[in-house]
Symmetry: C2
Subunit: 338 residues, 2 copies
């Protein structure tokens, strides 16, 4: 079987590997597609070399079919279409207060243990979610980032007809926008990249380029001064942090989706003055995956527009390099059987 | 009647003034006691000269009795003991989404219009809350800051047996701690001032001096690693902002009580990683006042320990100066009939 290995210094090797049988309580998956995530790019850039045990097969956004079932596995049989929820929460403790998806000793499969950028992949059976038999396997590979978006929207307690501002129109921002709109939110996206703006507009979203138009004035005008009920900070940049407390209306909820590696200045006075809430959101829970699968299967979201390229697994090095050189792409999938 | 006026430059004048009849829908209150609040000190220090229309009678923490009732006032009669909820929310708009207590055009009585540091005070009747006939009028003057604490705890959705860390043991911090403990919270206070530490300990609280002991280690040990469910940031200082995201456990709620005039660095990564929440809290709602009155009347809180001095209104200048020179005092009341 073909497998890829990140070996540091912006480089992958592609090589043949023994196809191993699944262990007890494990399932071997024949991987169909694997999406390249921002975290994978982060690894490629050497930012996570301390954490990644090289040479390492990475990848965690995927779809596939059950190829072989290990001992003690119930509920899955060969040929089942599946996705993996790549959270190994077996180290959860009482002090995690039931929040096993973010337990202190969480292992992320595809970062802390081998991932899906290979032809076959052995994973613990408890990570699997079964897919409908007729689902589109390319779209199914979007299940993981879509579950992130479902989790973000759920953390916001979004109500129908609420005004939503999504700061950042990359893949996660667009997925959040899609889910928020699906549940009745009136969504505005703030994005500065012209090709991303155009893509979001093709999806039917109202988009503001805050470098050209004052976002706060637009939202003020469009909402008759009510401003945003919910803001998603997905941009990860200081201007987004500055504007999030302005664009939120009274008692607005701001969901922190972006990962800010360093402490950043925040206008705490506005949190006090308008009784705002900041809500942290990380990965997903079981219910978010089930919801994401339902949403993909229902075909209600413009997910196909998000997939801008599909390349053979064997071209992984070129794929990662091209994502760096082409910031206009959105989601690139690797076909793990080519 | 005697009235006091802030005239800028750290100075008050005390003078006789015509005692006016209450207007339509107004009530004239014979003020019993007025507490000196941090905001009053802020005004005294000249920090709010842009907002305060000098010469101005300030003051908003008070107790008193109804002295005369204006036209169209129902439900109040001469001799009723009352407190004023000093929020003039008559400018509330639909865009305030029902949160009239923090409506955009809120006028704060005692800052934006004359306050209670005088013998008699005319206020709109809708600001009044009736007190039980046998209530202690000195304690009743603590109703306003206690309502702040009730609001803060309510915003936290505190549950019985949750672990609470209060950062800052000044008057509001201690009131928050009292209310949180009353509702079943297991409360720790972080404070660096020795006399405040001793006062909090006299009230039966576990107190940590973070300059001498590592607060995070103490909470970790005391909670078997569960850490705090709720953190109240009442200190208004960067070390408190730094520690609040450390001391909060998974999905911890951090209530922002302190007023931070400038943007401050916040560890947003911890909000993401532990799915923390930051909850803004400002002033109070009607229910918070009713709760504060009940708590004062029940005598369940060690409120008397908070009142460190009572001085005649005529000594207002000396009182404000002494608060500046004696940071060990807690709550000073002005006796408005002396």
């Amino acid at each position: 079987m073909l497998a890829t290995f990140y070996q540091g210094k912006r480089s992958f090797i592609v090589s043949q590997k023994q196809n191993e049988s699944p262990g007890k309580s494990e399932v071997r998956i024949k991987v169909a597609y694997t999406g390249v995530c921002g975290t994978d790019m982060h690894i490629f850039h050497g930012m996570m070399d301390q954490r990644v045990n090289m040479p390492m097969t990475i990848g965690h956004e995927m779809s596939g079919t059950v190829d072989q079932v290990g001992a003690d596995v119930v509920g899955f049989t060969e040929g089942d279409k599946v996705v993996v929820r790549p959270l190994d929460d077996r180290g959860a403790r009482p002090a995690d207060k039931g929040n096993n998806h973010i337990c202190r000793d969480l292992k992320f499969i595809g970062i802390d243990s081998p991932g899906s950028m290979q032809q076959y992949w052995n994973v613990p059976a408890f990570t699997l979610h079964k897919l409908p038999a007729d689902i589109d396997m390319k779209l199914a590979a979007l299940c993981e980032p879509l579950a992130v978006a479902c989790h973000d929207v759920r953390r916001a307690h979004l109500q129908k007809d609420e005004v939503v501002v999504v700061l950042g129109g990359g893949p996660i921002g667009l997925l959040v926008a899609m889910v928020a709109r699906h549940y009745g939110g009136k969504v505005f996206i703030s994005e500065i990249n012209q090709s991303r703006i155009e893509l979001a507009e093709k999806m039917g979203f109202s988009v503001v380029n805050p470098l050209k138009t004052d976002l706060v004035s637009v939202i003020d005008k469009e909402t008759d001064g009510f401003m945003a009920d919910v803001v998603f900070e997905v941009a990860g940049a200081q201007p987004a942090l500055d504007v999030m407390t302005e664009v939120a209306g009274i008692r607005g909820r701001i969901v922190m989706v972006a990962i800010h590696g360093q402490p950043k200045p925040i206008n705490l006075f506005k949190f006090f003055w308008k009784e705002l809430q900041l809500i942290g959101a990380r990965v997903y829970e079981r219910a978010d995956y089930e919801e994401a699968i339902d949403l993909i299967n229902s075909n209600h979201l413009p997910l196909t527009k998000l997939i801008t390229d599909v390349q053979p697994l064997s071209r992984i090095q070129q794929v990662f390099e091209s994502i760096d050189s082409n910031p206009e792409g959105m989601k690139v999938l690797l076909n793990c059987q080519e």
